[in-house]
Each structure stands twice: as structure tokens, then as C-alpha cells.
Amino acid sequence: MLHLDGVSKQFGGLPALSEVSFSVPRGQLTALIGPNGAGKSTLINCITGVLQPTSGAVRLEGEEITSLPSHAIARCGVARTFQNLKLFERLTVLDNVLTGLTVEGGNSMMMAMLRLPYLRHRERRLKLRALEALDHFGLSDKAQWPASVMAYGDKKRLELARATVSQPQLLLLDEPVAGLNATETEAVACQLRRLRRAGQTLLLVEHDMELVMKLADQVVVLDSGCVIACGTPDEVQCNPRVLEAYLGRMDATA
């Protein structure tokens, strides 16, 4: 579904990504792991158009999306969450989820101002879908709260709800369990499993190895901007280059 072909990104002269190539198969959960500073977030930003890759191509369903602006990529059906939450604090929980349906809400300002009956019906349908999404993540009783007063764990789930409500083709999750405790992590893991079962294609960036190894169909390991391993969780766990990247060179201490 998503193919990366030799994606490189340089900040000034500093290479953050060099020749990253892998693909995310449809309906599977691909995990992207790597030590801090490996370039995982940069890669996500390159895929979603927040950053422009210096060279290489990103293809979604065979269509090149490399040079498209961020909002156009979103309209192709790529949704994401952010490492450090980017919720709209002043909007209610429900409105936050509804912003996830912006693409379907129409983009003609004139029509919006006239609020013709067809728009009113569409609004009602979108609202129902948003409430359903909130229900999935166990947040429906807080629908009218302002997002700013929610607990951190709830905010993480709210961001997931916002990203999934439009049923995107591809969902990019940037550290969805960072800073959560064991129970909350388990709850998110459940949700991810549910999405995976429903056939959602996912690309997951995560530091929590236990979670990654439990959920992923495919694991891609990034170190210093290069892909050093790619395979099933078991293969990756035994890969000497991966161990080296995480634990350091063995013979250096021996």
C-alpha cells in the first residue's frame, strides 16, 4: 500500500534519513522502531508532507505523493497522531473528533454559510459517526468536555479517535503509548488489535518493545537514518545488527 523508495532527508548538510526503502502492506501492522534520534519522526513527517524529502519517492497505492502538501496527502486517506499531542484544547471532545472528519465536511465556505438542508443532514451523520468513534474509545461520557481538562491518557485516546474516525486508508501512529501506565498501554494495545482485525493498515512508531513485538506483523528498524533490518518480530529480535544498534557493539566491552 505505502512504498518508500530511497527516501533521504538532509537538514543543511546533516543527513537525517539516507536511502530509506520499505513498504507497508495493506491490512497489516508495520512497526517502525529504532533508538532515539534514528529518524523515525522525520520519516513520518516526510510521509505526511510536513517535511519534503531531499530525494526519493513516497508512493501510496502506486500514486506518488512525495511533493504534495500535507493537506492533500491527508485527503488521500493518510491520517496520523502526534508524538506530543496536538489536540485542539479549546474545542469540546466531540468537536475534536469531528475535526477528524473535515475532509468529508465539505470545503465550500459559501455552502457552509448558507447551511442548506443537505448540509444539515450531513452534519448530523458526521456527528453520529464521531459519537460512535468516541464510544469505541470509551470517551462518550465526556463528549461535551473541553479537551483541555482531560487526563493525559484520555487525550492520547482522543487523538486516536480523531485519527481513526475518518476510516483512513493508512494510519500513522507516532508513539501512541508514550507516557502511559501499564493499564492504559494495555487499553491502547486492545484498540490497535481491534483496528488491525478490522483490516486497518497501520504504521506504528513506538519505543515500547513488548507492545511492538506483540502486535506487529512486520518490524522495520531504523538506525542513524538507515534501515538496518526489516522482517517479522522474531527475525528482527535475533538480528545481530539490531542488537548492536540497541545495546552497543559487544566486542567493544569484551
Binding site: 510536513v50 479549546r90 475535526t99 465539505g106 457552509a112 454559510m113 447551511r115 452534519e123
Partner: protein, 332 residues
């Protein structure tokens, strides 16, 4: 469901529409109670300010941008109408529409480069535009009448019915204000409106949700300029006289103060802000010479204690309190 429940449900479902209806009814009856031309003149000025502030609030409050130059669009509307109806002797209504279209074009031309900026830079750029427009009005004597102003603008009329006294003008100007209010209320309750709120919240996140942030900002800027232009035309017809001093940068800052005092991103707050700041000099007329000082003081107080503006700040406070109280109930 009992009848009472049904009524409550109906009210909750249509609360916006019902509030607008109630407000319209109040305005309809107002001239019957209040026939003092001076007071009506004031409330007409409030309506003119409301039209501008509604648009400006969409731009500042909803979309999270800043403009210190909306008096320029207000002025362009007023002078456009003055020149169109007096110099070229065109019919007032088509002039109003035509001028609004021209101002939209001007706003588009200004907006495309300046809206790449944000924060202080955007404030400076819009302030600069206002200065330019003001200077042109002041210096281009042959066309604008220079500092002595431009007089003799005819009143608006439908057929033989001219809106030439305060009561008649009251109905005209408040009708247009109410239409603007409705349009803005509709906009913010739509997907497009939520996209705008997203732009104010976080541009990266908004883009990731499919909002074209650049185009949204330009659209709202143009919309707010059109509203300001319409208000300007009405202003010109109302006083039949315009002078450059009604459109200088201090007017722009007053408009921003109206937005902030009323509440960032609150359509109803715009009504409050425009009313409060327009009427403030009347209540404290001894301070007339220190008007700017008082406005500045009000702004500082509001920003210190309710940075989201008066109405929005209070509403947010109540919402947060009640949410927290409910969550405490749930845990205990």
C-alpha cells in the same frame, strides 16, 4: 417522553435558531420603546460595528490570525460608496455590492502575500496596509476630498422608501447585521468552521486533518474584508458624510479590542464586544479625552483575567468547572 421533556429537547436542539429569533424580535420592537433619535443613532452605530467585528472575529478569534488593518476595508467600503454614488452617480445598492466585490479583490491581493506571515509580522503588515489606505484618503484631494471629508452621500432606498431617519435605518442596518450573524453562526457550526478552529489550534495538526491552512486563512480574510466593506457602505449612507479620521489605525485597534473584549471565537461575544466598546464613551463621557487610555485599560484587564475574551472566557470557565465537578462526582 413527557411533553416537558420534548420541549426541553426541542429547545436544546434548536437553541441557536431560537436565540436568533428572540434577538430579532427584541430588535424589531426596540424602536417602539426607544424613539430618541440619539440613542437609536448609537444602536445603529453598534450594528455597523457588529458587522465588522463578526468578520474580524472569524479571522482573529476562530482562525487565530491577527489584523490591525480592518479599518482600511471599512474605509474602502465607505469611500467606494461615496465616490460611486456621488461622483459617478451610480445607484446605491449596486454600488454597495460592486464596492464589496472590489474590496474582496483588494483583500485577496493583500492577503496572498501577507498571510504567509504570522504573529507580530502579520500585525505589522496589516497595520501598514491601513496606514497606506488612510494616507491615500487624506492626500488624494481631488477624489476623496482630503481631510475635509466627503459629503452629500444619498441615503439608501428601496423604490421610493428611503432609509433616511434613525428608525428606518435601524431596521435596515440591523437586518443586515442579523443576516451576517446568521451566516457566521452557520459557518462556525460546519465542517469548514471546525477546520478554521483547527487552524487556530495547531496548523500542523490542521494540515494533517486535510485543512488547506493557507487557503482557509485567505478565504476568511476576504470574507471579513467584505463584511467590513458592507459596514463601510452603510456607514457612509447613514451619516451621508465620511472623513479619513473614521478609518485610521486607532479605529482598527478599537475593532480588535471589540473582538478581544467580546471573546475570541465567540459569535455572540462579538455582539457584546461591539456594543460594550461602542457605548463605553457614552457612559463615561467625562473621560472623553482619555478614550484611548480607557480602551487600553479595558483591554489589559480582559487580557489579564480572561485572556480568551470576556464572553468566551466566562463560557470556557463554566464549561471547565462543570466538567471537573462531574468527573469528581464520577470518581467519588
Amino acid at each position: 417522553m413527557t411533553r416537558y421533556d420534548k420541549l426541553l429537547y426541542f429547545i436544546r436542539l434548536h437553541h441557536t435558531g431560537l436565540t436568533v429569533c428572540a434577538f430579532s424580535a427584541l430588535l424589531l420592537l426596540y424602536p417602539l420603546v426607544q424613539d430618541n433619535p440619539y440613542t437609536l443613532g448609537l444602536s445603529n452605530l453598534v450594528a455597523i460595528h457588529v458587522i465588522i467585528v463578526l468578520g474580524l472575529n472569524l479571522f482573529i478569534g476562530y482562525t487565530g490570525q491577527i489584523s490591525l488593518g480592518h479599518a482600511a476595508f471599512f474605509g474602502l467600503g465607505a469611500y467606494g460608496t461615496a465616490i460611486g454614488t456621488v461622483t459617478f452617480e451610480l445607484a446605491p445598492w449596486p454600488t454597495l455590492v460592486g464596492v464589496a466585490a472590489l474590496v474582496a479583490l483588494v483583500a485577496l491581493i493583500i492577503g496572498i502575500p501577507t498571510l504567509r506571515l504570522s504573529g507580530h509580522y502579520l500585525a505589522m503588515a496589516t497595520l501598514g496596509c491601513n496606514s497606506v489606505v488612510h494616507t491615500v484618503m487624506l492626500q488624494w484631494d481631488e477624489v476623496t476630498g482630503g481631510s475635509s471629508g466627503f459629503a452629500g452621500i444619498p441615503p439608501l432606498a428601496i423604490g421610493a422608501f428611503a432609509f433616511d431617519d434613525e428608525v428606518r435605518f435601524h431596521y435596515l442596518v440591523w437586518t443586515i447585521a442579523l443576516i451576517s450573524l446568521l451566516l457566521c453562526l452557520n459557518l462556525v457550526r460546519s465542517g469548514v468552521g471546525r477546520g478554521l478552529a483547527a487552524v487556530a489550534g495547531d496548523e500542523t495538526a490542521a494540515e494533517a486533518l486535510g485543512v488547506n491552512t493557507r487557503r482557509s486563512k485567505i478565504n476568511v480574510f476576504v470574507l471579513s474584508a467584505v463584511l467590513a466593506s458592507v459596514a463601510g457602505s452603510l456607514f457612509a449612507h447613514c451619516y451621508s458624510y465620511v472623513s479619513p479620521d473614521s478609518f485610521n489605525i486607532f479605529v482598527s485597534t478599537d475593532l480588535v479590542i471589540m473582538v478581544v473584549v467580546g471573546g475570541m471565537g465567540s459569535i455572540w461575544g462579538s455582539l457584546f464586544g461591539a456594543t460594550f466598546i461602542t457605548l463605553l464613551p457614552e457612559w463615561i463621557d467625562i473621560f472623553d479625552a482619555y478614550k484611548d487610555l480607557v480602551h487600553g485599560g479595558v483591554l489589559v484587564l480582559v487580557l489579564m483575567f480572561l485572556p480568551q475574551g470576556f464572553v468566551t472566557g466566562l463560557v470556557d470557565l463554566i464549561k471547565t468547572r462543570s466538567a471537573l465537578r462531574r468527573s469528581r462526582h464520577a470518581t467519588s
